[in-house]
Symmetry: C2
Subunit: 161 residues, 2 copies
């Protein structure tokens, strides 16, 4: 069996990260929303003010999956947290421990950086993922709903007197 390796992404990984984001969007049935270009990703991950970081999972020479994360902040805890924006393992590499390995590495990063917690959002129909996250001790924030303001509604509020 090929060896599983988890490494921080380098600029050379930007094209495959772009591919992985598209594949994740297909899985989430949100392909129409996946609009990021390689140039945007290069700037966000490796520009002068990085907005996020990426871990790449490889089985032998093949890219098996990725995790993209950044820091949020909890006013109650008074510390940064680690927010996992995307976690994706390509279908043919599932069941081989890639997802667990990515999450373990993220937990280690969170602890090393003195983060109070690690959070991520899950689509309610993704039962396989939910069962996996619960088995790790993750707790659903059932009493909270995220609201989003975007597009013309955001522009309109920004222009309001």
């Amino acid at each position: 069996m090929s060896t599983l390796r988890i490494d921080p992404a380098t600029p050379a990984d930007v094209p495959v990260i772009r591919d992985l984001i598209r594949e994740l969007a297909e899985f989430e049935r949100l392909t129409h929303e996946a609009k990021a270009t390689e140039e945007q990703l290069r700037d966000a991950l490796f520009g002068p003010q990085p907005a996020a970081e990426v871990l790449i999972a490889r089985m032998g020479d093949e890219v098996a999956g990725f995790a993209l994360y950044f820091h949020n902040f909890s006013t109650f805890v008074g510390r940064r947290g680690l927010y996992l924006e995307d976690l994706f393992v390509r279908p043919r590499f599932r069941g081989l421990g890639c997802g667990a390995a990515l999450l373990k590495r993220l937990a280690r990063i969170a602890v090393e950086r003195n983060c109070g917690r690690m959070e991520w959002s899950v689509l309610d129909w993704n039962q396989r993922a939910i069962d996996f996250y619960r088995s790790l001790g993750a707790v659903p924030m059932n009493e909270w709903t995220t609201y989003r303001l975007t597009g013309e509604a955001l522009q309109k509020l920004a222009r309001a007197e």
Copy 2:
């Protein structure tokens, strides 16, 4: 009537921000979770690597409320977003437009910084807030649930082989 003013917080505002966070925690029935100290807040807001920013709403000389926010990142949009972690208006200043003024200023900041969207989380029983957010055009992400890993479960995953 006193004039409403919205300003970015300064280091001198840290003690009142600490008070406002406690008052928000009481309102959210989460007082036991509000553990941040003034020192932690000073470091997070005004230290060498700020983790968040704050706007303060004042009516005349009195602090009426605050908003604490930071940037997240959308892989689909390929751009930073603005995440509003806390929005709070003291009860005696409600109904005077403080919340709307804070949100307008945040929307303007989001647009100026080329953010694709603005997001925040709301407790499901806070109907007054939900009605207000919907009136601005904010959309609930009903199909998503946030999962949180913290405390011993986080430590355990970080130590796992």
